[in-house]
């Protein structure tokens, strides 16, 4: 039944997709102008490197490359390697493009994302990694249903996973779409559709291209590309952060002065209009007022001080919470603790991953500031539209910077790495989304564990296609959003829905199925609703008037996560059913196992 439904769904989406360009192009405000001249060397370089990267990933994904014999020792993934892989999974194009763009736009406050993404890791190291590995479970659904009732928990977990995956996918789609748009001069809509189709093909025909080695190679490529860019930026400023920041401040200052000048001109024009009683006087006054407002804002904005991005404390804390706790709820990250051979290696791998990720964020910070400096003035003109905005939007700051520091060939390289990165992250995400549907919903819930293998695989492939198409739609709708911000929304869902259930099921013995599912859904629905009613979707995506949003904050986590925890606690405590008692009884064996890796029976028997 589900199969035919899914087929119908995917068919409908395909039909929609084919009719999409006409309305979508009209519906999106301010579609960015195309790049006028095709940069051939960069395109050639891009194609070569994408082919090379895909080739290398294919090679890496093959397990049969060495004719190893049965007794050949070793061959496992070490903690270091897995750390790189986790970093590879985590350092998506979203963080590379998004964070550097954020720093490029607002300076210091861009760091909030870097730091937020980073501090989630110690949390995982100490609370989750080892325990998850000991339990031997690798999806959030598997952990949560360890002692709770399968069906409701899996339905909730699959829903949570799908929402997170969808939001996360949007960010990747926007990044890849923009990249293709800038590089090939395609219309954004077509670029996104093209990327979507490529992604679906990559995941459905590529087989297991989300394997550890793929992520390792990806991480190495991205780290070396970004390191090179950061090095070039630092070279430009004589390896002095002070110079870098001074120049950046000067650039911003010059920008503010230019705006002030513009405001002055507008004010004069308005004054003339009023004095001459011109009919357009009121319009001139309005434009003068706007210009002066912009000038004041620019003059006030200090890229070396906080407040540029998140000006109110609630938003700041909320975002911080999302970034910190969201990581632990990301489906494709949890899977990585599964790869290593024991709990110690799991912990080690998080340690290394944290190191790599931290280093990477320092790079993005330098790249962001570098972009401010290097994409300004005469030299920077070729990267900008007439209006002064970056071609392809600010998300493309890092890409343009690569051109500025390394020329066309390096631009091709970085674009290729970013693109391949996106493909790999998408593969990992889609696989976890598809497995949530095929395994958790189809096989475990609908078929009660009696699913036919072939059908399960088919459902999984159909889900992949459906997710790909959904991501195309959303990618088009969210074109103007900063990528890192989109990822932040995915994190806030993960932190509000998945994280509370995961953490409570591991550490709180009184958790019951009823509590987990109710609380989880409350967190999920609250977060989702507040995001839609908040300014970023209500105003910026749905096009309602500014100020008409129902919820004033951009990030809902502080409310939704708290609500989720409270609901879980309350419902669990009030749950006096027999089932609840049984579930509480099962906590101790689970806890022992999560600490030791050995079944409770084994642990008690062993003296």
């Amino acid at each position: 039944m589900i199969k035919s439904n899914l087929q119908r769904l995917s068919l409908a989406s395909l039909m929609l997709a084919s009719s999409l360009p006409t309305w979508a192009a009209g519906a999106i405000e301010g579609a960015v102008e195309k790049r006028h001249d095709l940069n051939l060397p960069a395109i050639v370089m891009f194609l070569i490197f994408v082919a090379f990267t895909l080739g290398i990933t294919y090679w890496a994904a093959r397990r049969t490359k060495s004719a190893k014999d049965f007794y050949a020792a070793g061959g496992g993934i070490s903690g270091f390697q897995n750390g790189l892989a986790i970093a590879g999974d985590y350092m998506s194009a979203a963080s590379f493009l998004g964070i550097s763009a954020m720093v490029f736009g607002v300076g210091y406050d861009g760091l909030i994302y870097s730091i937020g993404f980073l501090v989630g890791w110690p949390l995982i190291t100490f609370l989750i990694a080892e325990r998850l590995r000991n339990l031997g479970k690798y999806t959030f659904a598997d952990v949560a249903s360890y002692r709770l009732s399968q069906t409701p928990v899996r339905i909730f977990a699959a829903t949570g996973t799908l929402v997170v995956v969808a939001l996360y996918l949007i960010a990747q789609m926007v990044g890849a779409g923009k990249l293709i748009q800038v590089l090939f001069g395609l219309d954004y809509t077509y670029a996104v559709i093209l990327v979507g189709i490529l992604m679906i093909m990559y995941v459905t025909f590529g087989g297991m291209l989300a394997t550890t080695w793929v992520q390792i190679i990806k991480a190495i490529l991205l780290l070396s590309g970004a390191s090179f860019m950061a090095f070039m930026v630092m070279k430009h400023v004589g390896f002095s952060f002070e110079t870098l920041f001074q120049q950046a401040v000067a650039v911003k200052h010059a920008g503010a002065e230019a705006l002030a000048l513009k405001a002055n001109v507008a004010a004069e024009a308005a004054a003339t209009a009023i004095s001459s009683n011109a009919p357009n006087a009121s319009a001139a006054v309005a434009s003068a007022a706007a210009a002066s407002k912009a000038a004041v804002a620019a003059a006030k904005a200090n890229i070396m001080a906080p407040g540029g991005l998140v000006s109110n404390p609630i938003d700041a804390i909320s975002l911080g919470m999302a970034l910190m706790f969201g990581t632990a709820g990301l489906p494709h990250i949890l899977m990585r603790f599964f790869t290593v051979s024991n709990a110690k290696e799991a912990r080690k791998s998080v340690f290394y991953a944290t190191g790599f990720i931290g280093y990477f964020y320092i790079l993005t910070f330098i790249i962001g500031f570098g972009a401010i400096v290097l994409l300004s003035g005469e030299a920077g003109m070729k990267f900008k539209e007439v209006s002064g905005a970056l071609i392809g939007g600010s998300n493309m700051a890092a890409i343009h910077l690569s051109d500025a520091v390394g020329g066309d060939y390096f631009l091709g390289f970085i674009s290729a790495v970013a693109f391949a990165t996106i493909l790999a992250v998408v593969a990992g995400l889609t696989l976890s989304g598809a497995s949530a549907v095929s395994h958790d919903i189809y096989a475990s819930v609908i078929k009660k564990g009696k699913a036919n293998e072939a059908d399960e695989i088919r459902v999984s492939k159909l889900t992949t296609i459906a997710l790909g198409i959904l991501a195309m739609f959303l990618g088009i709708a969210f074109e103007q959003q900063n990528i890192a911000f989109m990822v932040g929304l995915a994190f806030s869902i993960a932190a509000s829905a998945n994280f509370p259930v995961l953490i409570m099921s591991m550490f709180w013995k009184d958790l019951t199925t009823r509590g987990a599912v109710t609380g989880g859904f409350v967190g999920l629905i609250t977060a989702l609703t507040l995001i839609i009613l908040g300014p970023s979707v209500w105003v910026e995506v749905l096009g309602h008037e500014k100020g008409s949003e129902w919820f004033p904050y951009k990030n809902p986590t502080i409310f939704s996560m708290t609500l989720a925890f409270i609901t879980i606690w309350l419902v669990s405590v009030l749950d006096t059913s027999k089932q609840a008692a049984e579930e509480r009884a099962k906590f101790l064996p689970q806890f022992i196992r999560s600490m030791t890796g050995i079944g409770a029976e084994g642990a008690t028997d062993k003296h």
Partner: protein, 600 residues
């Protein structure tokens, strides 16, 4: 059955694979109804005819010379002469294979062994075939072998004044059917038949002396005389045992049943020889027949799984006896000898390697244990089991542990899921207790399955090695080989065995044999009936190929491995291999999906 022609009959067995292929492609089938003439007298013989089904008579002047039955070549001589005076008539509805004369002549020229059959008279023909180990030839060789090649019971001596009861007791304790006595000038024999006759006489067994009931007219052969001399003696005097005079003056007894068994290589004979062996030499002697037994069963077309069943018992008996001969009883009471891997699963036919382990009871220590274990492995090497390349043998302290040390190991395997541990776990899952205190093993097995909690990570790491080897089947289902060689184990057998083993671990089956595992997985609805039967058939087919070409290798004195030369395979074998590998490939994908190997 799509196989057209049975090449196992003479002289077609001597055709090489390429020749067989040509032969098969030129093959035609003709039908003759009862009473119809197949070839008229004087008619030209354009083709060689081989009777497939039915009966055909060769007649001359109305007189039946010969009647040919199935699988016989009816006109070999006439073919060479082109015509014959005889005529051939179907005396039943008959199907006849015909092969063009030109091809036969060409084959005769290119293959001397094949040609000999057509050209020469019988004597010369036999010599030509003697180069080949044909069945007849082997029988001949057996008959000409010295009597000591068969199992010779050591003589059981009693003093001349022993009672009948003593004789009966000795027969029981020594598993023998006759005892010898020696008085002043004679040697006498007292057999089970004599015992029976005595019992009927109702005389007291304890007080009656054996001397009065023994026979003193003994028939004997020297130990270098051929088997057929002993056989002749038995037939001539209608006796069922003869005395064998050893060169050193000792005597032994050759039983008729052993002689017959020697000729037919019965497995239970080997088994009882193993059981009765009291020295390594006797054990080696007993085990030396196994190779022939395998060959014979294989030639007779016994299914590979059935051969494996027979061999399983023999292998285990051999291991048990070897240990028993080496280790004193006090040690054996405190240890349990395990065979692991394919041996434990009971799927080892030709000894490819030895995998064994020893569980020692907690607190038990013995200074000789290490030496005994080393000797055990050495003995097995002597019997033809190559040492295990992964050193999974009792002489390796890793595989010789106390019960509690094993428990720690079993826990570690579950928690530290790196490649080596997974391999060890896989081998352990196939363990079978061969000898000693089997309770030690039973406890460990229970400990393992009780402590085994559902652990997806463990299962995934465990199943991962099935992706280690490429299935040698290309995109267009062509067979892929490395330099013409295809490794059956890496290419298919391992994938099937390990995939099934992974499912068995997931379902916590304590079953070891792959076929049994498949059966239970089917009953538990984990495998669909069609998949189960596909897997069974595929595995059996791969194992039979392995056996067939392994035997050829062994015969050529080559080291046993799993490689087969694709060029050797017949067309039919290739096609079946393709189908089989397609099943392997499908199964591999399904395991990869089920165990989420794409996340590793």
């Amino acid at each position: 059955m799509s196989t057209l022609f049975e090449f196992s009959a003479l002289p077609y067995r001597s055709l090489k694979p390429s020749e067989r292929e040509r032969f098969e492609s030129a093959l035609d089938i003709q039908y003759f109804a009862n009473g119809h003439t197949v070839i008229a007298a004087g008619a030209p013989h354009h083709a060689l005819l081989i009777l497939n089904k039915g009966l055909i008579a060769e007649e001359e002047n109305g007189e039946v010379l010969t009647v040919y039955s199935e699988q016989e070549t009816i006109n070999s001589k006439a073919l060479l002469n082109e015509t014959a005076q005889q005529q051939w008539v179907a005396i039943d509805d008959s199907l006849v294979f015909s092969i063009p004369r030109e091809l036969i002549l060409e084959l005769i020229r290119s293959n001397p062994q094949f040609g000999a059959y057509f050209y020469q008279d019988i004597a010369v023909r036999m010599t030509a075939l003697a180069q080949q180990t044909s069945e007849e030839n082997e029988l001949q060789a057996l008959l000409l072998a010295p009597v000591t090649a068969a199992y010779i019971h050591p003589a059981q001596w009693l003093s001349a004044d022993a009672s009948i009861l003593d004789a009966a007791r000795r027969m029981q304790s020594a598993h023998c059917t006759a005892v010898l006595i020696k008085n002043a000038e004679h040697i006498g024999i007292f057999t089970q038949r004599d015992l029976r006759d005595f019992v009927i006489s109702e005389l007291p067994a304890r007080s009656t002396a054996i001397a009065n009931y023994a026979h003193y007219r003994l028939h004997s052969v020297a130990d270098d005389e051929p088997i057929h001399a002993a056989m002749l003696l038995m037939t001539k005097h209608t006796i069922s045992r003869v005395i064998v005079r050893r060169a050193d003056g000792a005597l032994g007894i050759l039983e008729q049943v052993d002689l017959l068994a020697f000729l037919t290589q019965h497995s239970h004979l080997i088994q009882s020889q193993i059981e009765r062996a009291v020295s390594m030499d006797e054990l080696a002697q007993a085990w030396s027949h196994v190779d022939k037994l395998i060959r014979q069963q294989h030639r007779q077309g016994v299914k590979v799984t059935l051969i494996a069943d027979t061999l399983r018992e023999l292998h285990r008996k051999l291991l048990a006896k070897t240990w028993q001969l080496l280790a004193p009883a006090e040690i054996s009471a405190n240890v349990c000898l395990l065979c692991l891997g394919s041996e434990g699963r009971g799927e080892q036919i030709l000894a490819n390697d030895q995998d064994n382990a020893l569980i020692i009871a907690d607190g038990f220590e013995h200074p000789d244990l290490a030496a005994i274990c080393a000797a055990f492995n050495q003995a097995l090497i002597r019997f033809g089991y190559p040492p295990c390349p992964g050193k999974i043998m009792v002489n390796n302290p890793y595989w010789r542990r106390t019960e509690s040390e094993f428990k720690i190991l079993l826990d570690e395997w579950q928690v530290q899921t790196h490649r080596e541990n997974m391999l060890h776990l896989a081998i352990w899952l196939d363990a079978y207790p061969v000898y000693g205190n089997k309770a030690l093993f039973a406890r460990l097995r229970d400990y393992f399955y009780q402590g085994l909690v559902e652990n997806d990570s463990l299962l995934a790491h465990f199943a991962l090695p099935i992706e280690q080897f490429d299935t040698p089947l290309g995109f267009f289902s062509q067979l892929r080989s490395k330099g013409g060689l295809l490794d059956l184990k890496k290419g298919g057998i391992f994938t099937l065995v390990h995939g099934i083993r992974s499912l068995a671990l997931k379902a916590k089956l304590s079953e070891r044999n792959t076929y049994r595992r498949i059966e239970i997985l089917k009953q538990k609805d984990i495998l669909s009936p069609t998949l189960a039967s596909d897997l069974r058939e595929s595995l059996a087919y791969l194992q039979s190929l392995q056996l067939k070409y392994g035997l050829i290798k062994a015969q050529q004195g080559k080291l046993l491995d799993y490689g087969i030369e694709l060029a050797q395979l017949t067309t039919l074998e290739r096609d079946l291999l393709k189908d089989t590998l397609a099943v392997v490939k499908r199964f591999k994908q399904s395991i990869a999906h089920q165990f989420k190997l794409n996340t590793l």
